[in-house]
């Protein structure tokens, strides 16, 4: 497996702050980049499938992230041991396990003297492999509302994407990532070849950008930056350019504020399909060219 993997490059789009335009850029890059597998790793709020339409679902897999406890009240002697040891306060005084609070550690299961606890795998989401209207393979997932283990589900999506890439002999996996810096982001970033970070020229955008850059560098991942809504505050764009220069980050360019992006989304289209000649589309085409040359050097 190792040797075959060498040739596949993985590019992940992240942002730190939510709503900066990850999926908008990912959708446009789906139109521009060739010879690839598409993966959506924002598993608790996946959106790429809204604009990159999956025409046919080829496989749907259940995802069981971990186990959950439940108590058989007929066997339970109400000794209270489980309630004492549960660190998550997941067991009520009537000995009912709250499925939302249970983290699936199994302490109650292993330590119940009456063996009254059952500990069974619980369904926590679904994984899909689809083919798009352009006959490309697109892997995405849905975590059930409020579930844990989003990091594990991300890993599952990435493994499925790699398998598809090997089968179809594709050289690139384009990943739309989640916001934040926690477990699903770490799981989306590790082992990729480039983190393409989409930010916006605001204090929040900049604050969150620095944290996600630090995270990527912590895992030794090369970083490149795109500033969306670049014309909202030019001062921040200059600060961000300087920050990139000082920290060895590739500054790719800006996308202007564009109301057509919302219109495109409402029409279930990527901005490039909706209006290939608008300012945002033109800017993204330039970004794509820079990205291609960066990828060739990796």
């Amino acid at each position: 497996m190792g040797d075959l993997m060498v040739d596949i490059k993985e590019v992940v789009i992240v942002s730190g702050k939510g709503g900066t335009g990850k999926t908008t850029l990912a959708g446009a890059l789906v139109n521009l980049m060739e010879d690839k597998i598409i993966a959506d790793c924002d598993v608790d709020a996946a959106n790429l499938h809204i604009i990159v339409t999956p025409e046919k679902v080829m496989t749907q897999k259940d995802f069981t992230g971990g186990k959950k406890a439940s108590i058989d009240l007929k066997r339970c002697t109400q000794c209270n041991i489980c309630r004492d040891i549960c660190k998550y306060d997941a067991i009520t005084k009537d000995y009912i396990v709250d499925k939302v609070l249970c983290e699936g550690c199994g302490a109650c299961y292993f330590l119940c003297p009456a063996r009254a606890v059952e500990f069974t795998p619980s369904l926590s989401g679904y994984c899909y492999t689809c083919s798009t209207t352009h006959k490309e393979i697109f892997v995405y997932a849905e975590l059930l509302p409020g579930e844990e283990n989003s990091g594990k589900l991300v890993a599952t999506v990435r493994n499925m994407a790699r398998e598809e890439a090997q089968k179809a002999n594709k050289k690139l996996i384009l990943i739309d990532g989640p916001p934040g810096i926690g477990c699903p982001v770490i799981s989306s970033l590790t082992g990729t070849h480039l983190a393409l970070i989409v930010t916006e020229p605001t204090p929040s955008g900049f604050h969150d950008l620095k944290r996600v850059v630090e995270l990527a560098h912590h895992f030794q991942i090369k970083t490149a930056i795109v500033v969306n809504k670049g014309d909202i505050n030019i001062k921040y764009v200059d600060d961000m350019k300087k920050y990139c220069y000082d920290n060895g980050i590739i500054y790719i360019g800006e996308i202007p504020y564009e109301t057509k992006i919302t219109e495109a989304q409402r029409n279930m289209k990527t901005i490039l399909e909706f209006d290939p000649d608008c300012h945002a589309s033109m800017a993204i085409k330039e970004i794509h060219k820079r990205l291609q040359s960066i990828l060739e050097e990796i």
Binding site: S15, K17, G18, G19, T20, V43, D44, A45, N47, I50, G66, K67, I85, K87, Y88, V100, L101, E103, G104, C105, G106, A107, F110, L111, L143, P145, G146, E147, E148, S150, G151, P178, P179, G180, I181, G182, C183, P184, V185, I186, S187, P201, T202, P203, S204, H207, D208, R211, E214, H218, F219, K229, I232, N233, Y236, Y257, T262, Q265, R266, M268
Partner: protein
Amino acid sequence: MRIVFASGKGGTGKTTIAVNFAFFLAYSQQKVQYLDCDVEEPNGHIFLKPKIDERLPVKVMIPVINQEVCTYCGECSRHCQFNALVTLPNNVLLFPELCHGCGLCLRICPACAITEGEREIGYIEKGMALMGIEFVSGLLNIGEPMAGPVIQQVKHHYNNDCVQIIDAPPGTSCPVVKTIIDADCVVMVTEPTPFALHDLKIAVSVAQTLGKQIGILINRENGEFKPLKEYLLENNLPVLATIPEDREIARVYSEGSLLMERLPLYKYNFIELSENIKKLFGQRTYG
């Protein structure tokens, strides 16, 4: 009263609404506490400009293995559901980032070789912000995967004499559950786009599962978006307030300023929000 601002999709304006609403209430002579539970990327401090006078570490329990007593029997790693322990022929390795601090290994070890230790994964900042708003924010250390314990720690600082405004993280998974689980009311900040609607539906179902009162705030309103309107009608979800799409708001935000100070006409939107939240509870005050 404890009011959470959540959304599902990121970037719909949770923080903008939460900080301006906190400011509005404080301006209206309410005692207000703002708590930032978006511990991966907290932004409330940018707008509320707190003077931080306390910084408290967030620690989680991890096992400490006494290698002199350990028999390398492997019981701890066999039982650990998070693969945080690996037993080798003459060593036990701990992967601290994977540990959930459940303490099962301590109890299961036949040689009693494991004791409780602790590890810092983030910190809490407390202070006084603009208009006398009490400010609490959690920060997850970079490289740490688990936001949950930091969110829980933020909540140890609730001041129940205040109206509590809580800024939630984006998404719909466990950090969001931990944030809204003890709320009185969840305001879902959404925008009239297919992405936001898709994620709103998931977030609403999380809040409904937890039995919460839910109200909607439509941000960046820009002509009618039928699918949203239909969804809200079908599910009987009340719209508490609407904020229009306005490039001036984006500009004020990009300068780290409050709408309440720079675009005071928007005060009326927050009056509406406040009145409608009270109505949701059939109350006249936040008492």
